[in-house]
Amino acid sequence: MLNISRRLALGLAVAVMATPAAAADNFTLAGKTVTWIVGFKEGGGTDRLTRVLQSKLAEHLPGNPEVIVLNKPGGGSVTASNDFHANAPNDGTTLIMASTSGLLPPLLGAKVARYDPNQWVAVAGFSRGATMFGISDQLGVGGSDAKADYAALRRANIRFGLETPISAEMLDLVSLNLLDIDARVIFGLSSKDAEAALARGEMNMNTDNTRSYLKDYGNDPEINPVWSYGVIAEDGSLLRDPDLPDVPTFPEFYEAVKGREPAGPGYELQRNLMNAKVMLSKSVMLPPGTPDHIRDAYVAAMKKVVADPDVAAKLPREVGSMPVNFGDATQRAIALGTAMSPEVREWADAFLWKTTTRRSTEPAGRRAPFRPGGRAGAAAARTPRGGAPPARGPAPEWAGITSDGTFRGPGDPAGGRGKVSRIRSRSSERPTRRAGPDNERNEPCWTPRCSPSHNWRPRPPSFPSRRAS
């Protein structure tokens, strides 16, 4: 009896141990079609990288399936990601090429993003270095002495163009803010617009991935990097960008000019964003719940793809020379890049809110505050939706939290939620608007340097002519 049960147990144990290995051996995609979803139009950076890898992936996957690239543009890949999260079969026939812009909405708690990249099963992550650079004769930065650069930047009239505050460039905005560098930020410029504006000298500071920077300005003595965002090594430490070995990383720059290591929720956010932008510039993911043996097969195939001489020759042109991370390492980076503690979330909300409301397009003194609908007073006194109590105290007429909750003000009652992945239903929960200033009062200082100019209130932007004189 005992013998039998022991044998049975032993057999079971053997079976249990054997199953994954056997399954991995048996796993084949022969005759199947693997759909590789790209949430952008054909011809973009994400699409290009996918197509570089596409044919080789088919060669190295077990069973040599047909691999097709399916472009599903919309909402900066949010639409495709929502669909992928909810509907993709986890049998290894569907995978997605995620990019930074698909990771940011869930990171920042946008309601439109009904997916959690943490639940996705990571195959590989392509990191791509990024750097901040400026025009030397306008800003006085030389790129060699951090302290001198910093002093010059504090004095300079920085003009920095980016697309929207919730794009990958939020990393640069947060970094500038941590350093108390006051930049005039001009929105609505795509990366090519910003590049063109830098070429015209209308903008004098820009950010780009390291490879593009080196290609465009590597030999240009007039345009110099100020800091890079570095790369995170296997042991979790931050190293310098291998393509810019002489340029300090952001924390190095911070320590050199401030005399202390960066810390606090703002820096936490900076690290979250750095993980999302640099380490997970592009990532290959399988749907939630994909079994380990399928993932292992994909990781093994992807390792071979990246080592393939054809691909290896093209990769530097697409992503630069940073090492590709695989499997668990990618999963870790996603966890780091998309998990945010409540206080960091609050800091981020407040920061975004300030960024979008502080700068008015015209000097506030010349013009009455913006009053859409012409009934600003009524709007301010209105009870926020969802039955929440009205905002206490004198709310500004146009305190602006977005209507769809793309990001929320610091006083949002729902803002304290700890999980990134929380998926909010459309009807039951709507963010309270116009609650920002209350929290502002409770937490009078949430920037490293508490000064009137860093307050949330709009102030007249200074104009180039005035600054110059």
Binding site: E42, G43, G44, G45, V52, S55, V69, N71, K72, P73, G74, G75, G76, V78, T79, N82, V112, R159, E163, T164, I166, S167, R184, I186, F187, G188, L189, K192, D193, E195, A196, A197, A199, R200, E202, D216, R317, T356, S360, T361, E362, P363, P369, F370, P372, G373, R375, W398, A399, G400, I401, T402, S403, D404, T406, R433, P461, F463, P464, S465
Partner: protein, 630 residues
Amino acid sequence: MVGVLPGLGGTAGLALLLPFIFGMEPGVALAMMIGLTAVTTTSDTFPSVLMGIPGTSGSQATVLDGFPMSKRGEATRALSAAFVSSLFGGIFGAFVLSFAVFAAKPIILSIGFGEQFMLVVLALSMVGILTCVSIWKGLAACSMGLMLGALGAAPLSGVRRATFGSEYLLDPLPLVVVGLAMFATPEIIDLLRRGGSIAETGKLGSGWLRGFRDWLSNWWLSLRCAAIGCVVGALPGLGGSVVDWIAYGHAVQTTKDKEKYGTGDVRGVIAPESANNAKEGGALVPTILLGIPGSGSMAILLGGLVLIGVEPGVELLTEDLDLVYLVIFSIAAANVVGAGICFALSPKIAKLTTIRYALLAPFMLGLVFFAAFQATRSWGDLVALLALSALGVYMKRFGWPRPALLIGFVLAERVESSVYQTVALYGITFLQRPIVIGLLILTSLSVAAAVFHKRTHSTPMTGDSPFTNRRAGPQWLFLAGIAAFACFILWDARNHNQLTGLYPAVAAWSALAFLAPLGLGMAFARRPGPMFHDAERGGGGAPGRPSAEFFLGLLLAMLLLSAVIGYVLGVASFIFLFLRFRAGVNTAHAFAGAAAFVLLLGVLSDQLTLRYPLGLLQTWLGLDLPWPLQ
């Protein structure tokens, strides 16, 4: 060839090529890519002229005069003039490019935010000349376009405005969908109601030489428009989509007898076609010089260049000059070959206009929906097309200028961001810049041309004409609908901060401001006048014909059917039922027609890796249909 199918255009064609160019000789790959982009602006003339479907966004203005010419039975003449103009424009573009790559850099770099802003204003001023008899309707239609452009993600903050809770409207409405809804569906429905074939006489006039002579006698116009195309394509700020409208507006402004425009004037074909081919050469200037793409297809081209190992940028000029000349030569050669092929094909294709339209219409509608679906490949495209088509149908009926709406829509995002960027960076001082002053003078000239242009109308405005003031109820309803939409935009805007909400609020207020005089004019008018227009009155709507609502209902039914059994089967059944019962074709032929369309969709889905929208049948019951039917 890609351009013949509406909605695909050069962008999709380039994307189609991308997988193949790996491992190709860079020169060959480059020539193929350039050839493809350059030729689509020639071949997209077919759907624009023959069917009234704007093939790509570059040929929207061609529809205005090209399609009426087809209706008059002058399809051959229109096509011939269009191809000669395209050929000329393309070669002119290549010619300019070969010089511009050496000299244009300082010019391109002098176009800052202020200049871009003035370029947008100049383009907007074209609205004035493109409006019909009522200036208020034109301005209100333009504001309507500006408001439609405000839906979806705001360009400055990324915040989503007025999405109606729909995931589709996370992004702004696609231009292709708006263009098709404004021109394609209203025209198809109009033709269906009229019966007969596209060419009203049922005959296809010969007009090859005539088209060529038309171009010869307008060579100066063609040259100016080609130059406009080059400049707009090369300069930042406007983008390629408005080139054809600017050229068209320019043609109208600079000719004396303007009345024929919009009713089939060959100059209205020559101008946009010269410009949109020249644009490609112009757009290559910043692409090659600065590595900054000048248009959407150039962005893909840039991607392709990187893929084959060519680094665009100034080094190209110093290190790979032969490659630059290869590019220029490819453009010129592609234009010659493309125009040649189009010439050879057009007698056959032009015969389409003599076929009874009821036989053609279901395929056209299937194609239009297919084209719209290419925009984002989601159900939203089809729904948006239907909704905007209804708007287009009524705008046509009530005499609202649809080009004005389209110009407003195309420029909406540029208006928003360039105003903000200019003011934020320069304040009022941008007016001191010399190029801005020059553009300001051009704009005033353009506005003056619109103001002093006497709007005469060929038919008198009597109680029997469409301008009658009696039974204006439907017009009031339409007016109220637009006003309600503006109010909704206003209501939505107040939920946003200044960065997001200012623009839609301004657009909505301007719409209301232009609607007010129109409404007042209608309320106090005792006589027929330009503010009234209803094509159903005054002989337009003969009794016994099915109404436009009937056909809109058919389209709705087709979408509902597709929602149940999937797009492919839905469209197939629609074609079958339409052919069988409206066109009176026998069952076997109707079935063959539907099957052929399904096969076409199947081949396209295979080649382009498309997934058509699924219905309840597939998602709910989990039915997995075999290849061409899914």
